[in-house]
Structure formats: C-alpha cells, structure tokens
Symmetry: C2
Subunit: 316 residues, 2 copies
C-alpha cells in the first residue's frame, strides 16, 4: 500500500503542489505544546478530495476517458471528482440523493459534472451507482474505500513526513476512514513513533463503534455541523487499516465542533468546515492523547455554507 | 537597504518560519492567469506586522530590554509589537488614540503591552510618542517609516524570490508605504523584470496623491473597511522608495474591497481583513496591469472584526 501511495504522489505532483503546514500560535497556546495545521482547505474545491479522485482517474485514465466515470457522493468528494474530471477531460456522473442540498448539487454541476438523482437512502445511492457502472462501462471511483482512493489520501502523509521533523501526533477527521487510513499507512512505516488519532462527531461515531465491535457496523448518523462526516458505516478496507494502525479514535460534540470552527476563523484566520475542524476540536477539548509529541491537525476541508459561518461568527 | 533586509531575515529566522504562498484556483480563473497568495494572515497576531516590530527590537535589543520600547499604532502594528515584546521579554508602551476601538486596545493589552491613551489626532499621537521616548529613554519603533521597519517588511520579498520562480507581478496593500517599500527593495534588484503594484482604498489615496504631487502630502482619510490602511500621509523614506521602485499604485472602492473579502472567505477559505484584501480587490476588478506576468497578492492581514465578517458573509 505504501508503494501505491508513493506512486499516487508521483502522479499527482503534475497537478497539485503540496499543501502548506503552518504553526498555529493560538492552538499551541491553548494546547500547551506546538501545534501545526495542514491546510487541505487550500486545495482546489476547498478540500483534500481532489487527491483521491484525481488519483483514481489517473490510475485508469484510458477507461476514464473512453467510457467516462461514475461516483457517488453528496459533498466534498463530488466536487473534488468534478474538478479532477474537468482537468483530465473526463465525463463524470455523480449519483446524489434527492435530499442533497441544492447548493452542493449546484457547485458540482458548475464544475461540469452531471448529477444523477437517486432516492434518499445509502442503499439506493450505491445500487444506482453500481447499476450505471455496469450498464455503461463507466469507471466507478469510490469516495473512501478503494486502494486508489486511500493511496491518494495517503499523499497527505508523505507530505507531512517532509514538512515535520521527528515524531509527531497527527489528528485526522474520520468519516468512511479513507484519509486516516492513507495517512497512517504513509507515516507509520517510516516513523513508527508517530501517533495517529482519529476524530469523529459524537453524532456519528461509526468508526469508534465498529472498533468496539471488532467489525464495521452501521449506525444511524444524527445531524451534525460536520456534515462531511455523515456516513452509515466505515469501509471494509479502511476499517482494517484503522484497526491495525490508528492509535485512538475520539468523539467531539456539536458545541466543541462549533467552538473550533469559530476559533479557527476568528483567531487563525482560516475558514474550516465542521468536518474539517473535528481534529482541532478534539485537541482543544483535551481529548487527544499526544504522548507529549508535537501535534499536527489536518484541516481537511473548508466548505461550510457562508450563512452558517456567519451565524457562528455572530454568536458570542 | 537590501543588505539590511537580508540581515533582518537572518534575525527573524529564529522566531518565524516563512509564510506559505498558495495557488488560488478561484482568483486564477477570474483573473485569467496564474495567481498566488502570500498568507501573512498566518503570522502570529494575524498580520505581517510581527516582522517589522520584531526586527526593530532585535536591532537594538539591549536598549529595548533595559529601557523598554514605545510605539504608536491603533491596529495591527500594536499587536505585532506586543507579540514581539512578549517573546523578547521587553516592556512595551503603545500610544493609541482614545477613539481606538476597545477591541483593538483589549487585544494589545492581552498580549502584555501597556496602552497609553492620547487625543484623537495623529499629531497628538506622535507628540505623545516622541515625548515618552525622550523622557524615558525607551526605544521608539516606527510602524512604517524607519529602516528597521522597512527591512523587516522586506523579508516578505526575499521569501517570494524563493517561493516563486521567474518574474512575477506582486500586488501589495499601501498605508504608510512600509511593506511595499520593503518588498520592492527586496525583489527589484535581483529580478528587475518583476512588477510591484500598490493598492489603496479610494477612501484614502494618500500615496497616489503624493506621487502625483511629487512629495508626501496629507489627505483626510475617509471611513473604509480597510481600516488598517488609514493614514494621513506616506512616510518620507517610504515615499522615496515607492517613487523610485514601484510600478503603479491603484485605488479600489468599498464595494470592491467588500467583494474581495467575501470571495476570499467563501471560495478561498481564508479570513482576510479589508486592508489585506485590497490587492486581490484591485486584481479582481481589472485594475492591475500585470504585463502578462504571473501574479502574487500579498494578503497582509486577517484582523477583521468577526461581526463585520458575519455581516459580509450573510449579505448576498
């Protein structure tokens, strides 16, 4: 898997520069030790999802170009994939529940993808996606549970190894588990002293719950500001990697997520969405066992609805 | 002067890492050519002002430590200097008009500086500052018009030379003219093909007006969202450098500044204050003659009042 991440990095280097890491004065102060932030919010489309989607298309570029691509997402992966498809000259269909916000649908369409509506269940979303792939020969790319996706996600970890000296504790948002799987795979082999900690909203503790039960289990996700982390169940591949390589998975509640979004905007001058801020929220609330290591929080995305951010900023 | 900037960089390297530059997809698209952003918003205290204030104190550290430091500012320089003083173990007094916002005063005091109130005129502010320096022997550090300040500001330019290959056009906010003087000095000698363009709010066109008249002249600044760029008159040193090295100075109106702040927050995921966004505003409104060069906008600060940002985000 590590070799695949290295290959993904080679592939992606033609399209993206490494995202910066910055030292956060305010988080270091509040945490009581050095904290750096990995700014995936600065990627095109405002989240890390351009990495896995672009890597998945580049891996099978001939099929992607001749037959097109299909995927399933209502959020950041849809936009990332639409961006990648446009840059690669690939036709993309994105299966999205009818209940997905008009805002998200519109942004995906603006990037040139075709949105295929489906019923409001994860089952129908996947059934529709696999049906389209089977009927059309389109390349199906998975938002979190394929090797190509995890390899693309893992390029964040390779960048961190270059940007941060020595052992560190990285805190990573968890939804399906793709990005933390990729990062853990990338860094644990060359720096086994690093710690990898995942953070989830309490409203959707699917990975923590699955780890307890020893297998991927489904939960019914509740509403959360971290809407990018709404998933019924971790992936099979990602669950196995998380079980093997991730040191801890912690949960943060809504007021903690909200507080982190507010602090990051007001004091760190960064717009981070709820799902991108769960790691910082966990750290700020003393939930991350860092073993005394310097900390890196991966700010995975910034796609918060402007009116929602306005509301958070206006509240005292 | 270039040698002083190089020395400033050596001095500051112990305290600050270079700020990142990132490629902006949305600005590149809207401008129609590659645009990068220099993220001074990621400095401690949220603006580039830690560079000139820290350099000024380090240049005369013995005096600063034994006698203390005095300066005059109601905004970003006050906070930058307070941060530098705290890190260097220096006692700092900041002369601020009584009319300065409680918010700014509070943030400066939280960083450990003592605020000395004065009457609501630039004249009384400077009279008070020079009187304190004369009576107490405190080191007086100037917010924009001293060699140490300009040298500290210029370190941004040296970083850009390393971060950007080949010739580029850099767009820089102008208030007293310190940061554009430093940047122009740093880059014009080694890359004379680079362009340096300044941007000011129309509400305060003091530099443009002074260039027209061939000497620093005073204007009466009107209210502007770019409150960090409120100054009656350019510095003497900075005016001479700008006249010699800066290619163009352009003005942006309030709706353009507001639009740039909104776009940077919503699409680039960066919180930038009005004064930090004037360069992007000028570019977005076709006011920057780039000579076909790739563009770098210096986002000089992010200290916008949260309620103001909320209002801008909530407006359509």
């Amino acid at each position: 898997m590590l070799r695949q991440i290295e290959k993904a990095r080679e592939r992606l280097s033609e399209y993206f520069s490494p995202t910066p890491t910055v030292r956060s004065d305010i988080l270091s102060q509040q945490h009581g030790g050095p904290v750096r932030l990995k700014l995936e919010t600065q990627q095109p489309t405002g989240s890390f999802k351009v990495r896995p989607s672009m890597n998945s298309m580049l891996t099978r570029l001939e099929q992607a170009r001749s037959k097109g691509v299909v995927t399933s997402s209502s959020g950041n992966f849809a936009q990332g994939a639409a961006y990648a498809a446009r840059r690669l000259g690939v036709d993309l269909q994105v299966v999205m529940m009818k209940s997905a916000s008009g805002f998200k649908r519109q942004r995906t369409e603006e990037l040139g993808a075709t949105v295929v509506p489906c019923e409001n269940t994860f089952k129908d979303r996947w059934d529709t996606t696999y049906r389209i792939a089977g009927e059309s020969g389109r390349l199906l790319i998975h938002p979190y549970d394929s090797e190509e996706t995890i390899a693309g996600d893992g390029t964040i970890g390779l960048e961190l190894l270059e940007q941060v000296e020595g052992d560190f504790c990285v805190v990573v948002p968890i939804s399906g588990g793709g990005v933390i799987s990729g990062i853990a795979t990338a860094i644990k082999e060359s720096r086994p002293g690093c710690r990898v900690v995942g953070a989830q909203p309490s409203a959707n503790g699917s990975m923590a719950r699955s780890l307890l039960e020893g297998k991927p289990v489904a939960v019914t996700p509740g509403p959360t500001l971290a809407d990018a982390l709404m998933i019924a169940q971790p992936g099979k591949r990602t669950f196995e990697i998380v079980r093997r390589l991730v040191d801890d998975v912690v949960a943060v509640d809504e007021s903690e997520i909200r507080g982190a979004v507010k602090l990051l905007a007001e004091q760190q001058k960064l717009v981070v969405e709820g799902g991108g801020a769960v790691g910082a929220a966990a750290l700020l609330n003393g939930k991350v066992k860092t073993a005394g290591l310097p900390v890196v929080c991966v700010l995975s995305g910034g796609n918060i609805q402007p009116s929602k951010l306005a509301e958070i900023l206006a509240a005292s």
